[in-house]
Subunit: 305 residues, 4 copies
């Protein structure tokens, strides 16, 4: 399996040339667009990487899956879905339009920015500091990586250019979806987006989800099976922005991308995948990463359909 | 399995009282809202039904899955998706808004009415008569039911009240998505919606899809594996109107509903399910059928996630 | 006044080069884009023309003002505005989006296509033939031109390419705004758009409106003062498509344009203006006509503000 | 004239019972909903009031007209309209939807909140303090009322509940329409909305605009004729939220309302009117004020059409 995957990675490296780096978070542009790496973590413990799998990048929207699971554990399904919907939307990742048409004004799902900001605000903690500590602890446990932390310069860059997210947060506050200080809630969101990882970290989170909330190496259960299934479902229906439908057809596996170029993909009961490829397509997904995952899914017949 | 499913059906029959019959197709209101039936067709040949599984109903939107597979076989993936998109949308089933915002004006996916009308127009045939004959033959083969035919009074009712679909068709013609006589293309669409079936017919179509395009009983291959996977993917991401996301979370199996009260559900590589329950929820799905399928999925751990 | 206006016309003729002919009604492209003409009809009986004022063109959307006045006379304000709204909209002239968002589905105003189709359907007559005859009689009286008639080749061109209007009509029928045969109602609409006029005809309609519904030459009253005021108000707030606001600021006089290149402008209690300039700006208004009218308004201080 | 107007006012007082006080700015609910007052200021110096014309209220959206004139004087037409559009919109006063659909993201006009926040940000001043001082000076001059000032408790109420406006401001900052500190810019906007006036102050601003930017009593020119005309035009096309079209038809005079219950109406070259009636209709306009102005317009034939 490893040889074939490494071969597919090298074949797909040329696709990085057709993408481009995101410009709206200035710090993200300081990277090599030709990078492509992958790491596989199987539930049986087997692990391996190909290409630039040691490259460090920030989680960005991949973190939305983590905070969703934590918020579900903290508050239960019923409460979370009273504030955020369950339906995919054809709009792009930072659309505000949908917020207004639906009555009551509820973000469509936890994978769009508005929904994710609402979800983060539900994580328990008497202060934003405590919320943040709980997110980081949760992630360090899942990845078995006690050194996981934020990339400060990316965090500062996000925070200083995050006015569209600020607009979403104040809109959500106005309609009563989030409570308390909007800037404080946003701060936790900017921090979660700025967590620095490599493909191995992402692959381990993916295998934890593939294993329905139990850390494969230790057997420790952190998330209920139902909540892990919810995470996988949202990854499939809306994890790849407005390219989710196409990815579901071509690769057929739950996946979540981030504008940092990472993709976390989950093959239920089988394995987790972490991919990095900073050059993005027009929808905001790693252009080579999307193709690599489709190729791997076809080669090893991984589609859940 | 049969006993448990029949038990779950009777438990869910009370839910029919919370739904209502659709009013916009007058003919559909002439039915008993307390009906609930299910039929299971396993790939190993085992079959059984519970409740009012012999009740006759019209396919309505369930037919969109059939015509999608036929259009894909006729034209190939590339052509079909040059006219219709792959992305789910949070809008309801007969929305026209989405058609306008996206440029070029392309229906979001083949499960919304605009997309389905476009798909039907792509089916090969030198006349609408020939297109229709090919659809009916295709369905008779899949269901092993040579008597399958349309319900004329429903067909006449649809045709005479189908002005919203007419509006969609003329919009699609205006932007060049459909060509030729719009009323002719619509006629085939109204006919496919009016095909009369029972739960057994639907379960057999479902098992054919679960078997990736091969009729389980005869081994005859009518649809490529890829095209069967495309059908299943759209069923999961947008088969239940704007309740698709919620159904994916709760039941986790590809399914397509129709306003006639039918639901076709596919458990890949395992079995097909046909459900009838004419009382609908506000999203247009069989209110008791949705709950019954969720219960069955939980009981037998059928989620694909 | 005549000399100055003719001078302003020649100065503005160069602007025709920055516009283009509409392509969606094929027949309209067969004209000389450098044409520019104007005709003034004062309430005191004085009249004169400059440039290509004898050029023949079709009324297109200018006819919406005529049918609005006739429908108001036929049905009264209350009935008409139960079917069509009074509010301007920032959308372009053939938008369908607005129809859907507002509940109940009522076209925003009588100047967008959906509203105009609804208005025409309200004109009294037991057949579409009778409705049409009444519109034509009404116009022949106002213009004192018994030879006014449709341009058949434009009419055929409109009818055969009018699928977007067909979509609007069927949508309106579906929501109950228009009743009866949609194609029949549309036919009258296509005919009114195809009425062939010259600048003199348009100027006389404008002076009739400027005179609050009384034909200046004969003193015959055809429309109530209130209905004439309603016509002027809609011309100002939404007569120039999504360029209405800008035109109101720059020229400050009620005006209605058509894609045939005509503009009808009304200076209340003073005079009527007919302009022809087939080269259009991106909003669908005569590019040189808009500037000419702004120049004339400034020169003679005609703004109503 | 006075007697007739006072009579019309008393006749319309009963209409206050059909309206309601706004709830989203808590401080505004502390008023008597049966209040109705009017003040007329003619260009010839004649002035009079009827009903509760001495009642104090906050300007709210009426202030948008003032800041528009000041921003136009400060920056010129071209710059202002590079940031804000000129077109009316059928949406309600605090819609965010329109901001997104139009490309580039430019508020439709200066009378919706997004447009007004952008306009205020353009007023010259090296600090928000200086901007604010310039607005207040400008208004004190126009009203000949050196004591004009903000109502502090309303200001605090607006600021603490202004999250929807905050969302708009951050959206505008994100797309580059406003620059600098969004909270600072908003602060000036909240202050201008909280300026406390009575009907006499409003009538004098209106007569200043009716006089094309020249203070009638002193002859001092503060605003160019063109900029005064721009103000009047926007008042007519979009001064009464999504009731602007209806008001233009029924009253036919440029007017701007505020949720404080005030309306400022301008009869060009004739007189200015200030109205207070805190009970609002569903569109946010003084319910009795709207009817009173329509009655007065009809009685004295004030329509500009």
């Amino acid at each position: 399996m490893k040889n074939k995957i490494c071969e597919l990675l090298e074949k797909n490296r040329q696709n990085t040339k057709n993408g481009s780096l995101p410009t709206y978070i200035p710090e993200l542009i300081k990277t090599d667009p030709e990078i492509l790496g992958i790491y596989i973590s199987k539930l049986n413990g087997e692990e391996f990487g190909c290409g630039n799998y040691k490259h460090k990048f920030t989680m960005q929207s991949i973190s939305k899956v983590i905070t969703l699971m934590l918020a579900l554990e903290d508050n239960g399904e019923k409460f979370v879905f009273s504030k955020v919907g369950m339906e995919p939307t054809g709009d792009s990742f930072n659309s505000m339009m949908k917020l207004e048409i639906v009555t009551p004004s509820k973000p469509f799902n936890p994978m769009i920015n508005a929904g994710a900001i609402a979800v983060t605000s539900m994580i328990k903690g008497i202060s934003s500091k405590e919320k943040w500590d709980r997110i980081l602890d949760f992630l360090r446990k899942i990845t078995c990586n006690p050194n996981l932390d934020i990339n400060k310069s990316v965090y500062i860059s996000e925070k200083s250019t995050g006015d569209k997210n600020r607009a979403l947060a104040y809109f959500l506050k106005d309609v009563g979806i989030i409570v308390g200080d909007a800037e404080d809630q946003l701060n936790v969101y900017f921090m979660q987006c700025s967590i620095e990882v490599d493909c191995c970290d992402i692959a381990r989170i993916a295998s934890f989800i593939a294993n329905n909330g139990i850390i494969p190496s230790s057997g420790e259960k952190l998330v209920s099976k139902k909540n892990a299934i919810i995470a996988k479902t949202f990854m499939l229906t809306c994890g790849m922005y407005d390219g989710s439908g196409e990815f579901a057809i071509n690769a057929g596996i739950p996946a979540k991308s981030g504008v940092g170029g990472g993709i976390m993909a989950v093959v239920p009961n089988n394995l987790g995948i972490g991919v990095i490829g900073p050059a993005l397509d027009i929808k905001g997904n790693s252009i080579a990463g999307v193709k690599l995952l489709s190729d791997i899914s076809k080669e090893f017949d991984l589609s859940i359909f």
